[in-house]
């Protein structure tokens, strides 16, 4: 880099460092606030969900601020400072994009951990609720439901009345949300790896003036996505008592969706697969 480029680069680093610092401060505040929400609302997942959604938007604003400042104010200076050999602007674009992606991943990891921790905290409450006896509403005799985590019909052994027995709020909240929360937690690092790899694929293509992505690369992407859904699906199945066939059907449905969105419109890929 020449001296002008070095100056610009230092300014860019300084700007991105400030954004990252602000992001770090918000992350700490977000974690502390969300954990307090969990304490204040131990059996209701909605407040935590609301907080996470609102914080999502705040982080989005911060990332957009960085992106807009780069696009509207800084990139022009990089363009003006570009030399014959090129690459300075691309380097700046990549630096900003990497910073954005690091911040996205950090928040994604935190919010998934928070939501998984919520259900970990909820589990002992749910267990206690499932242990509580339930009685026939007609004659008061204690019932023995076969399961306590789902609604079931139980015939009273005393008066033959058909009782519909419901799980307690803590129980249905747990079983309603924990499979997804723990599934995401089990698979998040795979998601981060896939996104980093996709960014690198685009950079490699840019360096070669944007040839079509190879079939091998697309197939690798498909396998990585399949692995993501395997990790997610296996964890989810453990908590939701799915059969192996149901688990596989779920994974196949998600992979099929991925193919339809990302691969099925690629004519080269379709020809290679004989479609």
């Amino acid at each position: 880099m020449n001296s002008n480029q070095q100056q610009l680069w230092q300014r860019l680093e300084g700007f991105v460092a400030k954004i990252k610092q602000r992001h770090g401060e918000l992350m700490q505040e977000a974690e502390a606030g969300c954990r307090q929400v969990m304490v204040d609302n131990p059996t209701d997942p909605i407040p935590l969900g609301n907080a996470v959604s609102a914080i999502d938007r705040r982080f989005d604003q911060l990332r957009r601020k960085m992106d807009d400042t780069w696009s509207d104010q800084i990139m022009d200076m990089f363009v003006d400072a570009e030399t014959g050999s090129g690459g300075f602007v691309d380097r700046g674009i990549d630096y900003v994009r990497d910073a954005e992606h690091d911040m996205e991943c950090a928040w994604a990891r935190l919010k998934i951990k928070l939501q998984a921790d919520y259900y970990r905290n909820l589990w002992p409450i749910a267990v206690e609720e499932m242990k509580k006896p339930v009685s026939c509403t007609n004659c008061g005799m204690e019932l023995q439901p076969p399961v306590r985590h789902q609604s079931v019909n139980v015939t009273c052994p005393g008066c033959n009345a058909a009782n519909q027995v419901f799980p307690h709020k803590a129980v249905y909240s747990y079983y309603g949300g924990a499979p997804h929360a723990f599934g995401e937690e089990a698979a998040i690092e795979q998601r981060v790896m896939i996104e980093k790899w996709r960014i690198q694929v685009d950079r490699d293509r840019r360096a070669q003036d944007w040839p079509d992505e190879s079939i091998q690369s697309l197939d690798k992407w498909l396998e990585m996505e399949r692995e993501y859904w395997n990790l997610y699906g296996q964890m989810k199945a453990r908590l939701s008592s799915e059969t192996p066939e149901q688990q596989q059907a779920f994974i196949d449905s998600r992979v099929k969706q991925f193919v339809e969105i990302h691969l099925a419109n690629n004519q080269q890929w379709r020809r290679a697969k004989g479609l």
């Binding site: 609301n50 058909a162 419901f166 307690h168």
Partner: protein, 203 residues
């Protein structure tokens, strides 16, 4: 082409100078107004509002420092008009763009785009400096958690006095006998439809 590009850069620099001046004057001012802030308004051909309006508005906002946000936004609006006018009057800009000079075109386009959102963007920046933080806790996310805690208290079923039960048995409205078989709504004792009115569903 170089002259036109430099002229566009110059217009942008003057825009930044205007914004800097207005921001500093506004932050140093008071919601009830100061002579310096009123002078700044005068520079942009704006009249200060009546004093009693400023006092009432400051109380409404709970603002204790800086000029009122709407006054500041009015000045930002005038600045966008000034800058846009300067761009429009720039000799040779249209010709240079028509000749395909991408750098000038890009520069002018970025500046024009900036003007479109300038009042909102600069206004929000100013708000963050002078407006008091939301009640319910310090920090930028305090407002979020205050809102979450407030809405968590809301219970849409409270007025119905709904009691959470663990089990329910359906009873015949005619004889009071409990349902004997799930999903069978013919009373095992009196033979009537247990809800009292047969909907006539096909069985």
């Amino acid at each position: 082409m170089v002259d036109v590009y430099s002229a566009v850069v110059g217009i942008e620099e003057r825009l930044d100078q205007h914004l800097r001046y207005v921001r500093e004057a506004a932050v140093a001012s008071h919601p009830h107004g100061t002579p310096e802030w009123d002078y700044c308004l005068g520079c942009y051909r704006l009249m200060p509002p009546p004093q009693q309006n400023r006092i009432a508005r400051a109380k409404e906002l709970g603002q204790t420092r800086g000029a009122l946000p709407e006054e500041v936004r009015s000045v930002f609006y005038v600045i966008t008009l000034i800058t846009d006018g300067a761009l429009q009057r720039l000799p040779g800009l249209g010709d240079v763009i028509n000749q395909g000079h991408a750098q000038v075109d890009h520069k002018a386009r970025v500046l024009k785009n900036r003007l479109v959102t300038l009042v909102d963007v600069e206004g929000q920046k100013y708000d963050r400096v002078v407006k008091p933080p939301a009640a319910g806790g310090g920090g930028s996310l305090g407002g979020i958690f205050a809102n979450v805690n407030r809405t968590a208290q809301l219970d849409p079923w409270a007025h119905l006095n709904v009691e959470e039960v663990q089990s329910v048995t359906l009873s015949c409205v005619f004889c009071g006998a409990p349902q004997q078989v799930p999903e069978d709504f013919e009373c095992a004792f009196c033979g009537q439809f247990i809800f009292g009115e047969d909907p006539g569903y096909d069985t």
